[in-house]
Symmetry: C2
Subunit: 347 residues, 2 copies
């Protein structure tokens, strides 16, 4: 760390920043400053726990991601997992390793970004770890939440259920394509470019939607779309032991994504199935519940819910259909995989 | 990852390994495989949460640390934090980023190392994240525990309390010196070399001792010694708003550490105060309780407890005394600090 600051000084800055943001957070008996955080879970609630890594040059590039963006996204992706279970996020631990020449201001900006997305959901940062890094930024956020009722799992979809997704898909991939290119594509409105790059840098997890869906009744299974539905849906199917038919033509792709794809000569549908990082909620529900759920999301949160297919009996694989014919779709991102290839089975 | 394995295949291996190790862990409703782990906290227990980073070439070198050692240590350092609060460790989330050419066997060995130290304490690995890394191994373990009674904090030491430490100090630094040197020093018994290198590579956290101390009564404050008492003790003092007098001549340094120090021309006392990574418990207690605590630890666990000083009123700094005179001692490891220097105040 550049400047005359040691680790303890850094911890003091973080402690002050996080406690100012949260007051003394609800259910926090001891926060940053002792060996462990001491937390008070709600009586009878199930505890939800999730962790996600963000690494420089794997998940983001410093060329286009500011420290505040990194903090936002590291927190947002975990919030999305709590949301996908219908839970309430509560407490976060943030581990951060940065190169020695990182300034204290950059570290503060990172925490401010994390707090900007966590704070409105009542999440307190209660602990963490800091380290110097020999090579780039390494971030690991662990988020704890609670589910008062039964959490929405991946393993409980049933044949006959309707398959639906919130919001729009492919926006994050469109934003990434613009960021990697380094310049806005010609012929696309500035507002659309800003919209998709923000979707990539600062995704908005569906926390309030997830909590409402979990309590609304009729949802049979839910997960968030982090790697792209081309790879995430087969994960849900594998856990549930069922198949799915997906109508590719019904995948929700918004105008900004289509405009960027057209300008760059890219395939918006491939972004929607294989781009990942949209952090929308993929759910299955009783067929009779979908209109009620769609209406509730629209009315309360202005969030769309689009039916894209159905769960079917059989092998845990997805069939992707367009104009009634089976097609291959781009799969999502997978670490340690050979380069992604089109796959009809999606599994 | 080398070999024809993708991320999902890796997750399946980890899931199988961790569930075989733990059975269906107590309090685990949903483990690896869904968006979040779903856990069932004990009624009325406080939740303890801790996270620690381990980075290649910052915290260990692959030249001398095997994957199983890395897994062991990443888990052990978190177990030590739960122990220092007198808590019971329960559930772990493990985030791991490794270079693309890492074999699946190495990843399995890493988890086996983590399970080897976690399993005997009833800890289940319930989740995590895996990623490819552009530069070396990056490990972050989050551990959740529970405290049934009041957790032992850093902030509750009082003037007049006795200051004591379990086990021996400087062993890990002695082991590190041998490992970095690459060859055993001449004139030191092989068993002593093996003893100190094991202390560095596979520290044994004082989990059972911490739980017993937390329940025994008379302990007023407790923390674990992770960065060296030269820096950790001042942290306890800062939280408690009190000072300390430490008798440097009473610091527990064992024969193996002294033998390695003598052979390498190093200062065993500097290792004891500034080496860090011993993961012993530093505690304060009522003066009348120390003999009972010492006897209990010896009888139940064969673990020593050594009185090294006392808490005093005044500024939150340590005075280090040898032969009745104040001396400077080596401080512990601090990230982002200028190169460590001797410091009389230790703060």
């Amino acid at each position: 760390m550049s400047g005359d600051r040691g680790e303890d000084a850094l911890v003091r800055i973080i402690r002050e920043l996080t406690s100012r943001a949260a007051g003394r957070g609800a259910g926090v008996r001891v926060g940053i400053g002792d060996d462990c955080a001491v937390l008070e879970p709600s009586a009878g609630a199930a505890l939800l726990a999730k962790t996600d890594l963000l690494l420089e040059d794997v998940h983001f590039r410093r060329r286009w991601a500011e420290p505040a963006d990194i903090g936002w996204k590291a927190m947002a992706v975990n919030l999305s997992d709590i949301a996908s279970m219908g839970g309430r996020p509560r407490w976060a631990l943030v581990a951060l390793a940065v190169p020695e020449d990182t300034s204290a201001d950059e570290v503060v900006a990172f925490y401010e970004g994390a707090l900007a997305v966590a704070g409105p959901h009542g999440v307190t940062i209660v602990g963490g770890d800091t380290s110097s890094s020999p090579a780039g930024w390494f971030v690991n956020v662990m988020l704890l939440g609670e589910a008062v009722g039964a959490p929405c799992l991946r393993s409980t979809a049933r044949p006959g259920d309707t398959l639906a997704v919130t919001g729009a898909l492919g926006r994050s991939a469109a934003g990434l394509a613009v960021l990697e290119r380094g310049a806005a594509p010609g012929g696309v409105q500035a507002a659309q470019v800003a919209d998709v790059t923000a979707a990539h840098l600062r995704p908005r997890p569906r926390v309030v939607e997830g909590a409402w869906l979990g309590a609304a009744g009729g949802v049979t299974a839910m997960m968030d779309v982090s790697d792209g539905i081309g790879i995430d849906l087969p994960r849900l199917l594998a856990e549930s032991g069922a198949g799915a038919r997906v109508d590719v033509d019904r995948l929700p792709i918004d105008a900004a994504t289509r405009a960027v794809a057209a300008a760059l000569g890219a395939d918006a549908t491939a972004w929607a199935t294989g781009g990942g990082e949209d952090y929308e909620l993929l759910l299955t529900c009783e067929p009779g519940a979908v209109e009620r759920l769609r209406g509730g999301l629209a009315e309360r949160f202005g969030t769309t819910l689009t039916v894209i297919g159905e769960i079917v009996a059989g092998a845990p694989a997805a069939r992707w259909l367009s104009g009634g014919r089976e097609v291959a779709v781009a799969r999502g991102f997978e670490h340690f995989a050979r380069p992604p290839a089109a796959s009809g089975a999606g599994g």
